[in-house]
């Protein structure tokens, strides 16, 4: 046991002192890197955790509906459909496709002029130069071309006894029951008018137009890999990963150096306090 005197001066190698200037600079950069990479590492960790349990959390089944995110992914903007009421059904046109309720019927760039429900239960969808007959199940029963029409169709409707009435540039016409002939003359018809589609139909059509939806898992994966940020995203995440690797290495170096010095100091201190 020493008698209360202070331990002798440590030599230059074992002395606990402020690190040398080079090491000091490395520590400063280690801290800066840590702060810069912290957010990205946090992002990687959180998204990684969620992705590990994506299936259990139902993220692979959850469709993202945020318009800004869909736009970011290049999903085409879906315009409000042009919709017509056809009895209990809705005939809607998305701009590229005709739908009966939410069921796609035919692709078409032409906007329908209206619809009419006929006495035999078929639905007539009028285009300027064609008439499409649909079954209530959405099957195309017949496409009637311009050669069988009394002119360019401007509007369509149905008479009280369920016959098809149309307005063309030449006036009003009523079709016979088989739609094989037309009688000219004013038609006391209920004319089809476009109406606002119900919200559910609008959403169903938007989903159908967009195709397979964007899942939350996809977004998380792209956030995790950085691809959500475009071409530079993965490079940014790579930089974060490299920074994290650099931090780990420098951290181990600091710990090792400090450990050596502390051990040496403790050994000298112990020898001094407990001389053998």
């Amino acid at each position: 046991m020493n008698d209360g005197r202070l331990p002798p001066m440590l030599d230059a190698d074992t002395r606990l002192r402020r690190p040398r200037a080079g090491l000091q600079r490395l520590i400063v950069w280690h801290r800066r890197l840590g702060i810069a990479a912290a957010l990205l590492v946090l992002l990687l960790a959180v998204t990684g955790l969620l992705l590990n349990h994506a299936n259990r959390l139902g993220l692979d089944q959850t469709e993202v509906s945020a318009n800004w995110l869909l736009r970011w992914y290049g999903y085409p903007p879906v315009q409000a459909p042009l919709a017509f009421r056809a009895g209990e059904h809705w005939v809607a046109w998305s701009g590229t496709r005709l739908y009966l309720d939410a069921q796609p019927v035919i692709p078409t760039d032409a906007a329908p002029a209206g619809t009419a429900v006929l006495s035999d239960g078929l639905m007539a969808v009028a285009f300027a130069d064609a008439l499409l007959l649909l079954s209530p199940q959405g099957e195309v029963v017949e496409r009637i071309g311009s050669e069988s029409l009394p002119g360019t169709l401007l509007r369509v409707g149905h008479t009280g006894d369920g016959r098809l009435a149309v307005t063309t540039g030449a006036g009003e016409f009523v079709a016979d029951r088989d739609l094989l002939g037309w009688r000219a003359g004013p038609a006391a018809a209920q004319w089809s008018q476009p109406q606002a589609a119900p919200a559910e139909l609008g959403e169903a059509l938007a989903r159908a137009e967009r195709g397979p939806g964007l899942t939350a898992e996809r977004v998380l994966l792209d956030l995790h890999s950085g691809r959500l940020l475009g071409a530079w995203g993965p490079w940014l995440m790579d930089a974060a990963a490299l920074a994290f690797i650099a931090m780990a290495v420098t951290g181990i170096v600091f710990w090792w150096k400090r450990r050596r010095r502390v051990r040496a100091y403790l050994r000298i201190d112990d020898d001094w306090r407990n001389p053998r």
Partner: protein, 177 residues
Amino acid sequence: MKPLSTLFAVLLSLACMPAPAADVYLAPEKFLAQNFEGKVPEPAVLWITGDTRKQVESILGHSAGSLRLRYWARGPRTAWILEEIGKTEPITTGIVVDNGAIARIDVLIYRESRGWEVRYPFFTDQFRGATLTELNQLDRNINGISGATLSVRALTKLSQVALLLHDKVASEKRAAR
């Protein structure tokens, strides 16, 4: 005008160009009028169901589309206005069948960007007199056109379908007698 402005103007004009529109070579109603000496008969309807549907779909290689087709008939002659997609757009074709053989085939409306050469008589005349074999094939080889392979194929299929449907109409008439 500076070269950059010229380039910009050219690019802008290209961007503003409308998509290729449908070329109407012969209006369907005129096609019918020409083939029935100006007096077009009332149309009739043939249901494409059961065995007929299977045969049509076998020829086309895809769904027959509508459940029924209209046609125009007088005596042994029937006229059909059919559509088949060439590459991406439907080609509207008028086909007249007389006594089980093709009398005339006309491209009425063409919407594809290439392959329009199928409208010319040097091609369509090959179908004249063609009949259907037992395997629903044409009884002759149709020479193709370079760069219009899909349109040639579409017209060949439509001619087979028209001949098949004509046979159905003829057999229905015979059965009704």
